[in-house]
């Protein structure tokens, strides 16, 4: 077991799950060492730190691994309690935040992936579902600045990495986030002005380039 002090993040550049951890630490001003993994040839360190899933992201804090992005974000919150909180202090409000982060976790990535992986009827169905998901989230956001209210919080961290994929989803499935869920579109732009988000999300064109490369590799037209 590595016994060096400090924080290392084993990650993959475009991963929205890894970005949750990066953004959370940036928001809290926590220094960390970023280690890019080659997912086609996973490092011994990754396999040792996450033997169960063998996936990124993995946060290694003083030699001890924490896996699963939302578990990592909650750990960051609890291990650095003196830093800007991402979760509210009231247990009921915390439960609501966890509920919505969990909703994002359950719904956005899988449905989003189907937007570019499928064709024809399947793609149409995925598009309909994705728009519904955005509208449910929009309804929850309401007229607030962030999901965290006045402050950027846990649900914002959970969802913001996917804003870099909106362009890919829109292009692949033929719809507009701004038209279907204008408040989400505004929220995404607002988040995009934060230092943590600017630093750790990639431009939408780069993400789309990645999606196209994946499609080619998977033999999808």
């Amino acid at each position: 077991m590595e016994s060096h002090k400090g924080v290392t993040l084993l990650d993959f550049w475009v991963s929205p799950f890894g970005q949750r951890a990066r953004i959370a630490m940036a928001e809290k001003g926590i220094e960390f060492e970023y280690k890019e993994e080659n997912l086609a040839q996973k490092s011994e360190l990754l396999l040792k730190m996450n033997p169960v899933h063998k996936k990124i992201p993995v946060l290694v804090h003083d030699g001890k691994p924490v896996c699963e992005s939302l578990i990592i974000v909650q750990y960051i919150e609890e291990a650095w309690p003196e830093k800007t909180p991402l979760l509210p202090s009231d247990p009921y409000q915390r439960a609501q935040a966890r509920f919505w982060a969990d909703f994002v976790d359950k719904k956005v990535y899988d449905c989003g992936t189907r937007l570019w992986k499928t064709k024809g009827e399947e793609k149409e169905a995925a598009k309909k579902e994705f728009i519904e998901i955005l509208q449910i989230l929009e309804s929850e956001l309401g007229d607030r600045k962030y999901f965290g209210g006045e402050t950027f919080g846990y649900v914002d961290v959970a969802f913001v990495p996917f804003t870099a994929w909106f362009h890919s989803y829109e292009t692949e499935a033929g719809f507009s986030v701004e038209e279907s869920a204008p408040k989400i579109s505004t929220w995404a732009k607002r988040c995009g002005e934060r230092e943590s988000v600017k630093k750790h999300l990639y431009e939408k064109e780069k993400v789309y380039e990645f999606v196209c490369m994946l499609k080619k590799r998977l033999g999808i037209e």
């Binding site: 169960v52 247990p91 009921y92 509920f99 969990d102």
Partner: protein
Amino acid sequence: MEAEEMELFGIWSSPYVLRVIWALNIKKIKYKYIEEDLNNKSNLLLHYNPVYKKVPVLVYKGKPICESMIIVEFIEETWKNDSIFPKDPYEKAKARFLAKFVEDKLSPPMWRFFTTKGKDQEEAYESFTDYLAILERELEGKEFFGGENIGFVDILLGCMSYVVPIYEEITDFEIITKEKFPLLHAWMQAFLSSDIVRDNLPPRDELLYRYRKIREAFLSKDN
């Protein structure tokens, strides 16, 4: 606290509902239980859980909390007696990780095992026994995943303690035996006989009947 302040919407057979009941028992919280009919969901349930329309829903002082794991965390954070989670952030992260592992990795192949036959069933069996081995290792030196007392992971995994013997009876497979998984086997007995669980289990006969019907329905779909 009056029982009316706390309401739990559930169905008798749901392992997710039981997680909440066990957590409420650990904290010694009184509550009012409302049995739902999933074929005819009440307006109240739909009002309290518009996103998923599912049980369990915990309603505390009129405010709803949904999703069993989130409900258990809420109970932990609101009542400070008899901790369900470790205090240390790293140990807490490990508990959350193991709980998610149970939900995401262990449960699907177990269900697949129970609802299929032949090669599909055998593959599912191989899959989940690998995952059971991971849990077995986690129990080394401990009676419960939470240590001396029942904790978050025990609650999440808990339904296995009564479902696995039912699966074994119906499918005629050995799943958790003293020989294969001695620690898990001991854990099951300890869990089932604990104060918070013992009187809060679904009736075995009714469960057996229900699960038999479920397996029959799935197998007949394949024909």
